[in-house]
Symmetry: C2
Subunit: 299 residues, 2 copies
Amino acid sequence: MSSATHSFVTRWLSAAADKGAPVCVGLDPVLEKLPVDLRNASDPVNGIEVFCFGVIDAVAGSVPAVKPQLACFERYGSTGYRVYERVVDAAKTAGLLVVADAKRGDIGISAAHYADAFLTGDHAADAVTVSPYLGPDTLEPFVDAASGSGKAVFVLVRTSNPGSAAWQSLETADGRRVVEHVADHVQALNAQRNGGEMYGPVGAVVGATHPAEAAQLRERMPDTLFLVPGFGAQGGGAEDVCPCFHADGPRQGTGAIITASRSVIYAEPRANETWQDAVARAAGDLRVQVAGVVSPSAR
Amino acid sequence: MSSATHSFVTRWLSAAADKGAPVCVGLDPVLEKLPVDLRNASDPVNGIEVFCFGVIDAVAGSVPAVKPQLACFERYGSTGYRVYERVVDAAKTAGLLVVADAKRGDIGISAAHYADAFLTGDHAADAVTVSPYLGPDTLEPFVDAASGSGKAVFVLVRTSNPGSAAWQSLETADGRRVVEHVADHVQALNAQRNGGEMYGPVGAVVGATHPAEAAQLRERMPDTLFLVPGFGAQGGGAEDVCPCFHADGPRQGTGAIITASRSVIYAEPRANETWQDAVARAAGDLRVQVAGVVSPSAR
């Protein structure tokens, strides 16, 4: 199941079925928010490493995937980057799929280098997020690397931040918004390539904070798996992410990876709980909440 | 002059005047293109490090700045990232300004982490490139970090790749193209902040391959310094970059950093030249060519 001879989509659907919900925990370790003994460790980078390993242990039983945020590691330069690599290795060893949240984007051979770094190198993840501003030609090296190695690429389409509409939602001369141009391109890439799979190798990042748009984008990109950040702390709830899933047909209840970060990794321990107990409980709660969205009878 | 108590703009204008032309050499080391003995080194990452140090030595006398491309280093994971840091340190020691070509972009605290990593950390560059797709709020942490530390941030506005028009040039409902929305925002940030300096801390990446647009963007963003890639190997010539500079007034002959990479770093050695001799010669040629654009009487 974890063999790279299967596509990301196959591995994801299988892992989500095994764990009982299509969820992902974001690994966004911010030193100032860590449990107090880790926050005050003499070496902050080591504190972050110990924290990430602890989160991986705590969530591996209940979720199919984790999403490390590169910025949190790069904050500490090459030393932090080395910790990112060890976190990827540890998550894979724990049987988790890994989405590298790198939001990279560059032209020509530079894009190919980033694709190599995140999808085919020694510490390769299973998927990487990319930013589309530079244009469709700059997505190709990522799509080629993903297709050739059983991995996936998630293109930023509609992001969850407060200012995301400013440029993403501009209406263009042909009536489509910018976000719809990008969405149509992503869907076209998948329609060309999906080869009988339920979804193609090019996913879309669609924030949980825009439910009405998520419904439109789900219709517009039927063959595209959504990565949905913003669940929990950013304000997206169960009803908000519902439209990201197919509501009927053979793909009913599939189509999205719901991601929560702060609400899980910084869960407040209750009496007699360690911080890891609290993280494990919050990951379990996330699984139950999202399982209820996908098959309402399980609520 | 290299003190961080002066702004990037002040340091840049002074360095460009000292060296005689507003040029920058892109450090995009691709293993397969290195001089044969470095290409075949037992350790490819070491080959890249030796190459970059050699280029820095060869160009430091004739150009004011270098622009390392992060993808070329990240291709080799944390080991490559460590080489990037050493290259930044070496370039600064050689008196060069350093633009980290990272094209990062993320939301909230992640953007702040990237800004820290590239602008204020142990191996901080003098400026960093960022991608605007996520929205204006995601530029703020970079602008704040740059303003607070005498650094600069260059926002991708119009890139030099063949497919760049697909989304950047979409016409929107109010008649402006997407690129013009981003440009107007960049200009507004500088108009708010420039505090008597010739340019604000927020630069714009404007490819050398679109001269007609460069002229419009120069008019639209008078207080904005342009970083202009695509000179040389990508097809941009002296006439193409001319519109990136102010043509008259007190800022005449300023306003752009012209960047060449492949045409300099992979310059073909002539008889009796080492590869470093060839790089030094090509950097000198770049300086003369661009000096001729800025003050035609010097041609």
